[in-house]
Every structure is written in C-alpha cells, then in structure tokens.
C-alpha cells in the first residue's frame, strides 16, 4: 500500500507556524522598545537587577540543547536510533535545567516581592511595573514554549522508539527540531534585551 507522504509540505507547514510565532514575539519586542524609550532610567535600573550570570548559563544551556537536537537528526538519518534517542534525552534534560534555573530566578524575584500586580513594585513607579510586567510575560511565554517543546520532543522520542519515525521518515523529528530552535532563537533576543542592555 502506498500511503501518500509529502515531507516538503509538512516542513513548510511547520515553518508557516513558526513565522506566526516570530510575528508574535516581534510584536512584543516592539512594545518593549517603545516602553524602554519612554522609561529609559527605570528600565536601566530594573535591568541592572537581573542576574547576568544565570541568564548567560541559561543561554549556553539552550544553545547546547539546540545543537544536540540538530545532531539527533543526523544520527537518525545515519540510522543510529540509539544515538538519536540519547541526544534527544540530553536535549530534554537541558530543557528541564533551563526551566529549573528560571524557577530559581523567578523564586528570587517573588521573595523580593517583585511579581506582576505586586504593591511593592507599584511603589517603585510606572517604569518598573512596565519592565517587570514585560519581563515576566515574555520570559513566561518563552518558558511555556519550552514546556510545549519538551512535550513535542517527548512524543517524537516515543515515535522513534516504536519505529514510527525512522531513518527514511524523519520529518516529524525535523519539525520538533525546528520548534526547539525557534525557542532558542527567541531567547537569543530576549537575553540581551532584558539582561545585557542596561
């Protein structure tokens, strides 16, 4: 039986979805830039409070995880199922490490009574409210994408394990990789905007 399969269309569909994601975050970047222009001083001081070290560590974690998922595609294409699954497991572990660091980071903010709608934050003025509002929303939305990405990769791992994604039918793995790279791509811009530019 010949089941119709169109990898190019599958991948194109994934890209179209990623474009909408790029536009979503692009819109948020516009909001961020305008508010930054209107509250230069407050954004400068608030951004200084973020921990550059933990941000850098998280950036490197995400970059490595992007590399491992890209390598898992090569492994599967070369019909090395075990290595592919191993690399995907590393990707998932790195993704969880990223989320754990985010948890530590957000936990510290919450202890200092910095969270959306916090009265302590409100006393510090409109600029700080806007900065932290955008910070929590954008990094939160990004973390949500990490969680979805991890779920996606988890499914693909089961598919590879059951030989439903194989060395001659790997477009699903490629699509999960594309999604994961997009998450990395967004972080590449979030990191300098929130942590580095002070």
């Amino acid at each position: 039986m010949d089941i119709h399969r169109d990898d190019l269309a599958s991948k194109t569909g994934m890209w179209l979805f990623l474009f909408t994601e790029m536009l979503l975050f692009g819109g948020l970047f516009v909001v961020y830039s305008v508010y930054r222009f209107r509250n230069v001083q407050a954004f400068h001081l608030a951004a200084d409070e973020l921990d550059v070290f933990i941000g850098t560590v998280n950036t490197i974690i995400l970059l490595i995880s992007s590399c491992t998922i890209a390598m898992s595609i090569t492994a599967l294409q070369r019909n090395n199922k075990k290595l592919s699954l191993l690399l995907l497991s590393i990707t998932v572990i790195l993704g969880l490490m990223f989320l754990f660091n985010k948890y530590i980071e957000w936990g510290d903010h919450f202890r200092e009574h910095i969270y959306p709608g916090s009265p302590v934050l409100a006393l510090r003025g409109q600029g700080d409210v806007l900065f932290y509002g955008l910070y929590f929303f954008m990094t939160g939305l990004h973390a949500l994408h990490i969680i979805v990405g991890l779920g996606f990769i988890g499914f693909i791992m089961i598919y590879i394990f059951r030989d439903r994604v194989t060395h001659d039918n790997f477009v699903l793995l490629e699509n999960s990789g594309l999604y994961w790279h997009l998450v990395d791509l967004i972080w590449i811009f979030l990191f300098p905007l929130f942590y580095l530019i002070t």
């Binding site: 970047f29 590399c67 811009f189």
Partner: protein, 94 residues
C-alpha cells in the same frame, strides 16, 4: 512523491556552530559590561542577529532548503524589522 534524498549535516558542523554561538554569547556578555552608551545596544543586537543567522541557516537547515522557504523566511524577518523601524520612527519624530 517529493521526498528526495535527504541532506545530512555532519556532527562536526553542528559542534563548530555551537562553539561559535557560545563564543559570541560570551563576547556579547563581556562587551555589554563595559558602558558604551547606545553603542552597547547596537553591539548586543548585532551579535544577537549574527547568532540567529547561524541558528536559522545551520541548525534550522534553512541554508539547504528550497528557494520558496528561504524567500518566505527573509520576507517575515524583513516585515518584523520594518514594523519595529516604522514604529520607532513614528515614536521618535511624532
């Protein structure tokens, strides 16, 4: 069927790209610790743009995709840049 023979990127390429990306991250962290005013913003965003082009081209395989996909990706990136540019223009010179 449009499933042509796959293009396989060797592990080495990915590892080299990873090394470049980490180096660029460390450069951008160290450069932004020095106060350079608006130049800091420019450098940080320039490095981010270089990093994202590596991720798009190699990790996301865009370099080896067909023309249509490349064209669409460039168009979307241009739209985002244009929207940011026009918004800032409007905001700064209103």
């Amino acid at each position: 069927m449009e499933n042509e023979k796959p293009h396989i990127i060797p592990y080495r390429t990915f590892l080299l790209v990873l090394a470049t990306l980490i180096t660029l991250t460390l450069i951008s962290v160290s450069v932004t610790q020095i106060y350079l005013g608006t130049l800091t913003v420019f450098i940080a965003l320039l490095i981010a743009a270089i990093k994202s082009s590596f991720v798009l081209q190699i990790f996301m395989h865009l370099k080896f995709e067909n023309k249509m996909l490349k064209f669409m990706a460039i168009a979307v990136i241009l739209i985002i840049c244009l929207v940011i540019f026009i918004t800032l223009l409007d905001y700064l010179y209103r």
